[in-house]
């Protein structure tokens, strides 16, 4: 089973995770820039983070045979902090980088006027730089947030078919699908979607334009959820081709809209004994 996790925050994960992901079939992933749990207080802090997503993290991933790409943006939560909003002016010079396959994650958190501005501005940037956009739907007041998101997309120059709406569930899938955008589902332990509910959604909705991700980060989450969905799909009678479509071809098609996917990472060589790269050098 080949797996592309279209939304996972590897900066917050360990090398054990990379190893386990490779063993379960993960060969490619996209790491969206997001809120780090601790609020940032200056644009420079974002730039170091963006540099890590374009430098150190792809280097780490490649050691485990996994192709790493990222999406960059000012996240909705910090879009509300005037100390952070100058990030928007510097974003263009990052959006031209080879490893950037979308603008994201953008969207709403508390649906404030500052979030309106950040969302509209960044959808515009995506259109300008010929990138798709990765838009998450809010955790609170999700359906209303989704409707407002779809309206802002409709007003932008970005084609809805170049937008991925993420963190969907049973109550939002219909409205999201009608918008013409791609449909993302984050599978978590305990909360939000689980793998069996995901299988039910796939049964009723079908596999078209559906992406499944672990959204694993610094919170309680599981980087192997993509594989667990694949196994649950097979157990429920879906074919291997269905699984490949959802876990590989759909994310490749969506992020491939950027023209920047490079999926040919060599398999990890058994590291020379004593080579200390895996411990981070010294």
């Amino acid at each position: 089973m080949r797996i592309f996790d279209p939304h996972i925050h590897m900066t917050s994960r360990t090398t054990d995770d990379y190893q386990a992901m490779y063993a379960s079939g993960v060969r490619a992933l996209v790491e969206p820039s997001f809120w780090l749990g601790q609020p940032r207080t200056s644009p420079a802090s974002f730039f170091d983070y963006f540099d890590a997503l374009l430098g150190w993290e792809p280097f780490r991933a490649a050691q485990y045979g996994i192709a790493h790409h990222c999406t960059l943006a000012l996240n909705p939560k910090e879009a509300n902090d005037p100390r952070c909003t100058p990030v928007l002016e510097e974003l263009p010079r990052y959006l031209v980088k080879d490893g950037v396959v979308a603008v994201g994650e953008i969207g709403y958190d508390s649906m404030t006027p500052a979030e309106d501005v950040a969302l509209a501005t960044q959808l515009q940037l995506a259109a300008e730089y010929a990138l798709p956009a990765m838009v998450h739907t809010p955790h609170r007041d999700k359906l209303a947030g989704l409707r407002r998101t779809i309206d802002v997309v409709a007003e932008s120059n970005l084609d809805p078919e170049h937008v991925l709406l993420d963190h969907l569930n049973e109550t939002t899938v219909k409205v999201a699908a009608d918008s013409g955008s791609w449909l993302g589902f984050s599978i978590y332990p305990d909360t939000k979607m689980d793998e069996d509910r995901m299988v039910s959604v796939l049964r009723s909705h079908g596999t078209d334009r559906v992406l499944v991700n672990s959204a694993a980060d610094w919170g309680k989450s599981d980087p192997l959820k993509t594989r667990k969905v694949g196994d649950a799909m097979l157990a429920a009678g879906f074919s291997e081709d269905d699984v490949d479509k959802v876990l590989w071809r759909n994310p490749v098609a969506f992020y491939g809209l950027s023209g920047r996917l490079q999926l040919d990472v060599p398999a990890p060589e058994a590291l020379h004994e004593g080579n200390s790269i895996l411990r981070g050098g010294e």
């Binding site: 280097f59 980088k97 080879d98 490079q262 020379h272 050098g281």
Partner: protein
């Protein structure tokens, strides 16, 4: 690598892209840029996806040479670059910067643990300009991170007669041995170069 040998590895769309990029870079060389981000620098960032990652080093260093990038431009491209762009700047230094002014970039790269950067940092520019202490640590860093010592430019000349390097290598070897770990073959290679083997 020169233009002809790069072209042999590119498809026709990439060759056309590179033609345009080089023309823009040559223009910038004639007439220093007055726009915020010159077009050839956007192409410098995008080289991997247009010419293939396997050709990106060659294409990017060619662009830097054609634009006759000065230390200020190289520093900005390095600081604002993704890892692959930083690597290209490091590789271009010996052709573009005669003096030691670009050493801070080499030192920055040597502080990372990214072997792509460390490898590019220990080329001829480092051989020509790094002071003995920093150069010894660069060699040791290669041994620690698994960058082949073959990547260290001019290693024979710089290592020769360096008793302090020999001592550092011997200490590292005994630390490895004490831990029950093997001593990298490259360590012996450098130790022989010092001519200070005991």
């Amino acid at each position: 690598m020169n233009r002809e040998s790069i072209d042999g590895r590119l498809d026709s769309a990439a060759v056309a892209w590179l033609d345009q990029a080089l023309a823009e870079a040559a223009e910038a060389a004639d007439e220093p840029d007055n726009v915020a981000v010159p077009r050839w620098q956007l192409r410098f960032a995008a080289a991997g996806r247009h010419c293939g990652q396997e050709n990106a080093d060659a294409v990017r260093t060619l662009l830097l040479r054609r634009a006759a990038a000065d230390v200020g431009t190289l520093t900005r491209l390095y600081q604002q670059g993704a890892a692959a762009e930083r690597r290209a700047v490091l590789l271009a230094l010996p052709d573009l910067v005669p003096g030691p002014e670009a050493l801070p970039l080499v030192e920055d790269a040597l502080r990372t643990n990214d072997t792509r950067l460390v490898e590019a940092a220990v080329g001829p520019y480092a051989a020509g300009h790094l002071d003995p202490h920093a150069w010894r640590h660069a060699v040791l860093k290669c041994l620690f991170t698994g960058v082949p010592v073959a990547a260290v430019a001019d290693a024979e000349r710089r290592a020769h007669g360096d008793a302090e390097l020999a001592r550092m290598l011997a200490d590292y070897a005994s630390e490895r041995t004490a831990a029950g770990r093997s001593v990298p073959a490259d360590l012996h290679r450098v130790l022989i170069m010092t001519g200070e083997e005991s």
